[in-house]
């Protein structure tokens, strides 16, 4: 899973990035909030970010706020790092758009568990997005059969957007998953039979 670590303290950054790499996260390290924001703006696909609260240029909550305001559809899970005596700020961090927080110095097992929650949420959202786009594709097929269709009252051909007149079955087959098997209905069978016998009568 693609993961951003943003911390201006070398000690914290080193511990975090090496710990996450050991757990097989694909880590990018930045050292201030502005770099974090730049990275997240260009990220594509599910992204986890561990953001220190206090950083130069932009603090962690401000990065969260920008992500939620300017990238509302981005699949990002944001974890804020905060010190124990700033615990009361947690509500402000979550209000800013963070998904979770971890108290520094972090407990490795707790961090791992919270990262796993992030992975689970991002994976679910990714699957959901895939499903939505499949449904949208299916819906666009169905939509092509909606609306007012100009049809010839006599031969029953339909005029397409290209202005050509097409037989009903090819018009539908092109715009849906439907296929046609040709046969004859009982009423037409009776008519046809009449036509054939009158033809034989006229020519005998």
């Amino acid at each position: 899973m693609r993961t951003l670590v943003a911390d201006d303290d070398r000690v914290a950054a080193e511990i975090l990035s090496r710990t996450l790499k050991r757990w097989e996260f694909e880590v990018t390290l930045v050292t201030d909030g502005a770099e974090a924001w730049q990275y997240l703006q260009n990220a594509s696909g599910p992204t986890l970010a561990v953001l220190d609260w206090m950083m130069p240029h932009l603090d962690g909550p401000e990065v969260c706020r920008r992500v939620r305001k300017e990238l509302p559809l981005a699949n990002m899970y944001l974890i804020l790092l905060t010190s124990l005596d700033h615990r009361r700020d947690v509500v402000a961090g979550l209000d800013a758009g963070a998904d979770d927080y971890v108290i520094k110095p972090f407990d490795p097992e707790e961090l791992r568990a919270r990262m796993q929650v992030g992975v689970r949420v991002l994976t679910l959202q990714e699957r959901l997005a895939e499903r939505v786009s499949e449904l949208q594709a299916a819906l666009s097929n169905v939509k092509q059969l909606h609306g007012l269709l100009p049809i010839c009252s006599y031969c029953k051909r339909i005029r397409g957007d290209d202005q050509y007149w097409t037989q009903v079955e090819s018009y539908i087959a092109e715009r849906s998953e439907a296929q046609f098997s040709h046969g004859i209905c009982p009423a037409c069978y009776v008519d046809l039979e009449k036509q054939i016998s009158s033809y034989h009568k006229d020519h005998s």
Partner: protein
């Protein structure tokens, strides 16, 4: 941990999942960074800049937390609060304590490093 040890070696190991290479690398980083952090705090006090005192003390507090160095954390936290509340008159004395605690911590950390 003995009563007067500057850091808790067991807790430090636990925070880094007992990865000895990581522990040694991080201790080296801290040994490198700590004097700079102290100099930044001293500069903030000299300049009577409360906001700078708050942020520089906060930074050292965070790094010392990873070393499980409770007394340096407490001394840096006291300076951070002074910075936040603008109580700079008390800062020089608190800084002397922080310097003393840091000196002891650095000495103890150096001893734990494998000889290279």
């Amino acid at each position: 941990m003995t009563d007067n040890a500057a850091f808790d070696r067991v807790e430090l190991g636990r925070q880094m999942a007992d990865d000895e290479t990581l522990i040694a690398d991080v201790i080296r980083l801290f040994l490198d960074d700590c004097p700079t952090r102290l100099a930044e705090i001293r500069a903030a006090i000299t300049a009577q800049n409360a906001e700078q005192l708050r942020t520089t003390a906060h930074a050292l507090k965070g790094a010392a937390g990873y070393m499980a160095a409770a007394r340096v954390v407490a001394a840096a936290a006291a300076l951070e609060v002074m910075g936040r509340e603008g109580r700079l008159s008390e800062a020089p004395e608190a800084f002397s304590l922080l310097e003393a605690e840091s000196a002891q911590l650095l000495a103890e950390l150096r001893v734990t490093l494998p000889r290279s």
